[in-house]
Amino acid sequence: MLTRRHFLQNSALVALSPMVPAFLSDMARAAGAQRDARILVVIQMEGGNDGINTVVPFGDDGYGRNRKAIRLNRDDLVKVNDHVGLHPSMRAMGQLIEGGRLAIVQGVGYPNPNRSHFRSMQIWQSSRLEEDQIDRGWIGRAFDQLPWPRPGGPDAIYVGEEELPRTLWGRRTDAAAITSTDDLALRLPVGKSGSGSGAEAEDITSFVRRSVLSAYGTAGDLAGSGTAGATAAAAYPQTKLAVQLQLISQLIKMGGGTRVYYASQSSYDTHGAQLPQQARLLDELSGGLKAFLDDLKAAGLSDRVVVMAFSEFGRRVAENDSQGTDHGTAAPLFVAGDAVKPGLIGKTPSLEDLDDGDLKMSIDFRRVYAALLEQWLKIPAKEVLGGAFDPVQILRNSV
């Protein structure tokens, strides 16, 4: 398998330029083992996405009975099989399934579901159902188990304008926040190539010189290629989420050893006039995700990245009187990347066999976390989740 290190040391340099600039070869040299590490990208769909109108069980008689004003037309759906189809604005995600790059885990939730956005998000972010155990997030707890202090960049980076999500809180976790690509543009005519001497030395002066020149090289590289050039391989849609994902892609390409990235998308709380709102959001999610994965594929990095998109809960099966839906329970969750087993995972929840008007949960979300932690990031999950959870088989066996 082509590793990041090989990529930088060989193909990329040849492909980028006939003459290798000094700063790029410095970067290639600096690409250590940790830069080959696997990366998890989490997308938080805030507000409680209506899973029933996202992964639509059109073959279930209950669908037409419960959804009238906001029923999606069967012919418009992106069919996954003869029972289930994706929302019409999720064509890009349909293509990802066909291309073997998207898994949908169905009926994900937790016991005794809480319908408060705040509380349910706390549960998802901390991976703990106990209220006194929310001081750390599941990613924070995961890194807390690793040897510390750790060299290199932050363990996790949140891209966005809100405060750091609880998911990344830890006792020994270094999580950073970054807002925009402006953070990566340099406003000075700096030199990008220094004298070659000392490039290999480990003393602090050489280290600083190498780091500074490499950073300025990266800035020059990004400026030279421009936003369009950096993403030539994948045209990102002009949406907020796509901008976040594009920035994450740039950070991954820069190679800083960060293993978890976090992005978020808000406004899934569709109590009224749900149809246009959800269509826009799912289009943003679907288009952004595909552009991101295509971009990474073109950069030869797609085997290193898995994306998970989740929402804090689904919505009630029956629509309300405002052409919307109220807070519910179990919902589908998305896992994307070259490493996934594509298609539907788990049982499609029945719209007939309900629990007080809500879908029955069939897969505990902590089983998804267990898979991502143990099989993808290779970090033991038991301490993180506060118990042993059987990992859901989301990833290909060869991973």
């Binding site: 001081d135 999580a175 990566l184 700096v190 780091s211 950073a215 300025y216 990266t218």
Partner: protein, 466 residues
């Protein structure tokens, strides 16, 4: 075989013998700038000249006594700072509390005091992410300042009896029969002993001793009914210990002075400069001086080791110093820079005051120089030189400063002057030539090439080290 007699009574060489100028180690601009970049927030040209004239010990004494600044201080500084701090707390806006601290760093007559407060913020790293209470964050911060140079027992006692750390480390949920070990673990691992100097059993027992320490209203509270008053065994000692007994046991433990010595050296000494015997000796000194932090800081700053060539330019300048230092050295006093803007820059460089990344604080050192942070450092240098930090966009009068220092204001001499002022002359002739060529290149957006030159000096690899 001849045996070499070992003279066990010969005293080990004093690793911290005081520095005296002479021979190869002259008291020059390079060393004065080194002192102020390490122990304060850089110095203006006249502060440098003053220290050059008065000698190293006088320069260090001024820092220790809290009067190192002659320029850019504000009349009734403490009163003004308090008003800003009060307003920040009332606004409940963390950005304003950050700006308050930046204000203190920029304008306090006691830069070393603020450096030490920052060191303790890192040592007792508490985050407002969990507290969400600016009153408590500020109160804890004031403790770091008040007891910055005190015997460590006073600082530790004050911080541990203050709500911020208790809430941060879950003291209220540490009750008899249902211990929460968070506070017990961190007080041993991070605040006093360091990892490897206690067992898991010690932590369990220490947590029992700490039961009943809680918060009521906005103050410290002892809850007798939550306290486990049974016998405990901690670090080989047995007794009916409570939290105060625990602190005394930790303060008397030999690992405590060593951890303190490590903390002080990592703040003031370059990478790899104080290990082994130097650290041991400083720890021994701390022990015989009742863990007097002021004594230790003074010993370090006065030492030959501190002023040695090997120690100059071997520490990566942290975000706070990188931002505030040049603002002071370039005399951005009137109009003053916006402290809100400066604090945003500090954040872009990777440090959010009152929001340490975790209980272990900022790792610092090489970790500061991520790609993003380096680019942010370069952009900060550009913003500073162009005068974009104050509300009225006033660039510093660079040529005036050079002339005032008796230098020619042409580009070449100007670059040489600012290399001395800002970096103690660390950039060599080739680097200076390169800066001159780049700054003088036609088509640059700035009217004055000296502006670009100063930005390039501050963005150079040499400027990242102090």
């Amino acid at each position: 075989m001849q045996s070499v007699p070992i003279n066990s009574t010969a005293p080990a060489p004093d690793m911290w013998e005081p520095y005296e100028p002479g021979g190869q180690s002259l008291w020059d601009v390079r060393r004065v700038v080194h002192l102020h970049r390490r122990a304060g927030f850089a110095a203006t040209w006249s502060e440098i000249q003053r220290d050059l004239k008065d000698g190293p010990q006088a320069g260090v004494t001024r820092l220790i006594k809290g009067g190192a600044r002659v320029e850019g201080t504000i009349e009734n500084f403490e009163q003004t700072a308090d008003e800003i701090g009060e307003a920040a707390v009332l606004s409940d806006n963390p950005d304003r509390l950050k700006a308050w601290w930046i204000f203190r760093m920029l304008f306090s007559p006691d830069p070393l005091g603020e450096r030490l407060a920052l060191m303790w913020h890192n040592h007792f790293a508490t985050s407002n992410l969990k507290l969400r209470d600016l009153v408590l964050m500020r109160r804890q911060n004031d403790l770091f300042r008040t007891f910055a140079r005190a015997p460590f027992a006073k600082l530790l006692g004050a911080v541990m009896h203050d709500p911020a750390i208790l809430i941060w480390l879950d003291a209220p949920s540490n009750v008899k029969g249902k211990p929460n070990e968070n506070l017990a673990r961190e007080v041993m691992e991070l605040f006093t002993l360091g990892v490897g100097n206690y067992s898991e059993r010690d932590i369990k027992e220490a947590a029992r001793a700490l039961t009943g320490w809680s918060v009521a209203g906005a103050g410290f509270a002892r809850q007798a009914d939550a306290h486990d008053d049974g016998q405990k065994q901690i670090l080989g000692r047995k007794g009916l210990f409570d939290g105060d007994d625990l602190l005394n046991i930790l303060l008397e433990h030999p690992a405590c002075p060593r951890r303190l010595a490590w903390r002080i050296c990592s703040e003031f000494m370059g990478e790899g400069m104080a290990e082994g015997p130097a650290l041991d000796q400083l720890a021994a000194g701390l022990r015989s001086h009742e863990l007097d932090v002021g004594w230790a800081v003074q010993t370090v700053l006065r030492s030959k080791l501190f002023f040695s060539d090997a120690n100059i330019g071997t520490k990566i300048i942290g975000p706070v110093e990188f931002v505030t230092g040049p603002a002071h050295a370039l005399e951005l006093f009137d109009p003053p820079p916006s402290t809100l803007v400066l604090s945003e820059w500090v954040e872009r460089l990777g440090l959010s005051l009152f929001y340490p990344p975790n209980v272990g604080g900022w790792t610092g050192g090489r970790g500061w120089l991520t790609t993003r942070a380096i680019i942010a450092r370069g952009n900060y240098a550009a913003a500073l030189a162009r005068g974009e930090l104050s509300v009225s966009d006033s660039p510093p009068d660079l040529r005036g400063m050079a002339r005032h220092a008796g230098r020619d204001a042409n580009l070449r001499d100007g670059i040489a002057f600012f290399n001395e002022l800002l970096l103690g002359g660390r950039i060599g002739p080739r680097g200076l030539d390169d800066i001159r060529v780049r700054a003088g290149r036609p088509g640059a957006p700035d009217a004055d090439p000296l502006t670009i030159a100063v930005a390039l000096i501050l963005a150079s690899p040499e400027a990242q080290l102090g």
